[in-house]
């Protein structure tokens, strides 16, 4: 009895410690985002801002584009925020729509042959830099460089394998007898999809969407290679602080980090119900 209590105690202590390890960077980012420049780098560290301020947020959220003033770079986040939201959402939507259709037709009709899902995976077997350079060459001649369409296309291509593999797990969970039953009862193929398959895989679709959204939301390398000034996503903007030569703007950078985290967290809360079901893979098994 006593022993079991001890085991539970140790287990919870380890879990709590690990939670702290993963959350401390997030905390430090939030903490820094509310500090004045004098407090960014101090020893001993300030665990709370002594004079909390919103000036970092005000600076990055002011409309307008990034400017240089008196040799100092002022980064603006509204445009990158929009660019990221637009490219990540559009690419995730298209990838989930295409990928789940592919997964369905492979699971039910064997479209593309037995090895199709594996061959689709090969695009993820190379480091992204390997595909980034050929894409760059193509994009120059196709005039897709530094455009929304270009970035969205490459994100769709790289997300499709994930979508196909995740959706395969959900679709294979739907017994094919359910579809046969609906067809015999008078449903068309389309009606079978909308009335039977879709309602039973909606949690999977939502979970997959979020997964792909986060993937593209935080993607840096391809965005850095394939965009320039017209399109500039959040990860690129965050990265620019590293190279500013007049000192490090930790405050605004932390503010942007906090802002960049917000949509993902908000989305997660909105679809929490589906995530619990979706990530448990196997909602239909009795």
């Amino acid at each position: 009895m006593k022993r079991r209590w001890l085991v539970a105690f140790v287990r919870h202590a380890i879990l709590l410690a690990w939670t702290a390890v993963t959350l401390i960077p997030v905390y430090w980012m939030l903490n820094t985002s509310f500090k004045h420049s004098g407090e960014w780098v101090t020893w001993p560290p300030h665990w709370f801002p002594e004079q909390p301020t919103l000036e970092n947020y005000a600076q990055v959220l002011t409309p307008g584009s990034t400017i240089f003033e008196l040799g100092r770079q002022t980064l603006k986040v509204l445009k990158p925020l929009w660019d990221s939201l637009f490219t990540a959402t559009a690419s995730a939507l298209v990838a989930v729509a295409l990928g789940s259709a592919l997964a369905y037709s492979w699971a039910r009709f064997g479209t593309g042959g037995k090895n199709y899902p594996y061959s689709v995976l090969t695009i993820r077997m190379l480091p992204p830099i390997v595909i980034a350079v050929p894409f760059l060459v193509y994009y120059v001649s196709l005039h897709l460089l530094d455009t929304y369409a270009g970035l969205i296309l490459v994100y769709i291509a790289t997300s499709l394998p994930y979508v196909i593999w995740m959706m395969l797990a959900f679709i294979e969970d739907v017994p094919s007898e359910l579809e046969s039953a609906a067809r015999v009862m008078g449903a068309s193929r389309f009606r079978v999809l909308s009335s039977v398959v879709l309602p039973l895989t909606v949690s999977g679709l939502v979970a997959t969407f979020l997964f792909v959204f986060i993937l593209n939301w935080s993607e840096l390398l391809l965005a850095l290679t394939l965009t320039n000034t017209q399109v500039s996503t959040i990860p690129i903007t965050l990265n620019k602080f590293q190279s500013v030569n007049e000192g490090r703007d930790y405050g605004p950078q932390a503010a942007i980090g906090a802002i960049a985290t917000l949509p993902v967290v908000a989305l997660g809360f909105l679809i929490q119900k589906h995530l619990v079901k979706g990530f448990s893979f196997g909602l239909l098994r009795k």
Partner: protein, 358 residues
């Protein structure tokens, strides 16, 4: 409502033929059971009738119309699946209403028809529930209701009782038979359970290796099987088989096997096949006192209450199984004499398994 006719229906998967030239005429209102071991092609046959699988060759006719190339939804058949295939995301009401809503039936009529059918199969109190919360028997009735409500031209059932426990299965058997009597619709029922086939069918279709072996009323198939397979498939405990050979015995035909010789009332020329298998049902094996017959040791007893199953070791490769009256005084180790009812003996060709000497 309509009858179903199959003409040379064939389904090949690569080189193997799951269904091989099945022709069958089911008149309107008949209860036909397709029976056979798993993998014999019975479910594939049913799926081709429903339109869920396309035949390699042959045709399906429903009510005289050729429907071979029609989509499942254009065949107006009702089908109950082995898994029942209730939609887990819909209430019982929505499940039963599904086929009506697809046909754009007005909501008032949907409600009326669903409630009427739910009353018939006694699921009215369950309409608000989800399928996952139903018991096996309840789910079974809901699946039936969903099929009945669409007023199909014929009912197809693919082992619908296999998920139920033994007792409920026997109850549902009776219920299905009663339902058939009420609806007077064509029922085509697939099972691997010979007892289900015997108890429910107007006519039984026995399949093996994708080929129809025999078609006929249950008792005719039981008493007069066309081959070794059909003879062994029906009956519990199964028919006894004794492998031996035919020989002439003073101008008459005799069957000889280890420990058993039977002289038949037939001329020696009646059979050309040399190797043969004798088949005799356990209820046609008689224990007797005194002389005649053969001697055996009782090796095992299985009392069932209404009868007792006796295993007799007579010197052959396997025991002869007999069913006797439960009051029979008998014990393991007894030496007893036994005989066969001479007029009930069946003989099968030792090579092809075909019935001979009919």
């Amino acid at each position: 409502m309509a009858g179903i006719r199959l003409a040379g229906l064939t389904k090949a998967f690569g080189a193997s033929r799951a269904v091989d030239g099945v022709s069958l005429d089911i008149p309107d209102g008949e209860f036909v059971v397709l029976v056979g071991p798993s993998g014999c092609g019975k479910t594939t046959t049913l799926n081709m009738i429903a339109g869920l699988e396309a035949p390699t060759a042959g045709d399906v006719y429903i009510g005289g119309e050729r429907v071979t190339d029609r989509e499942p939804r254009d065949r107006q058949l009702g089908m109950v699946f082995q898994s029942l295939a209730l939609f887990p995301h819909m209430s019982v009401f929505d499940n039963i209403a599904f086929p009506l809503r697809i046909r754009k039936t007005p909501p008032a009529e949907v409600r009326a028809r669903v409630e009427a059918v739910a009353e018939t199969v006694r699921v009215a109190p369950l309409l608000g529930k989800r399928p996952a919360t139903l018991s096996g028997g309840e789910a079974q009735r809901v699946a039936l209701a969903r099929t009945i409500v669409m007023r199909p031209r014929a009912f197809l059932m693919d082992e619908p009782l296999s998920s139920l426990d033994a007792r409920l299965r026997v109850e549902m058997r009776t219920e299905l038979k009663r339902l058939h009597a009420t609806l007077r619709a064509t029922f085509l029922y697939v099972t691997h359970d010979q007892a289900e086939a015997m108890t429910m069918a107007d006519r039984i279709v026995v399949m093996q290796y994708g080929v129809v072996q025999q078609v006929g009323p249950p008792l005719a198939i039981y008493a007069d099987p066309v081959n070794h397979f059909v003879a062994g498939f029906f009956g519990v405990p199964p028919m006894n088989f004794v492998a031996g050979a035919f020989a002439a015995d003073a101008g008459r035909l005799a069957f000889r096997a280890a420990g058993v010789t039977i002289v038949l009332d037939r001329p020696a020329e009646a059979v050309t096949a040399h190797d043969a298998v004798l088949g005799v049902r356990p209820e046609h094996v008689r224990l007797r006192d005194g002389t005649g017959g053969w001697t055996a040791t009782v090796s095992l007893l299985e009392p069932l209450g209404d009868e007792t199953i006796v295993f007799l070791d007579y010197g052959g490769a396997t025991s002869i199984v007999a069913t006797v009256d439960p009051d029979e005084k008998i014990a393991v180790g007894d030496r007893r004499r036994f005989m066969f009812d001479q007029d009930k003996l069946l003989f099968f060709d030792g090579t092809t398994g075909e019935r001979i000497l009919r």
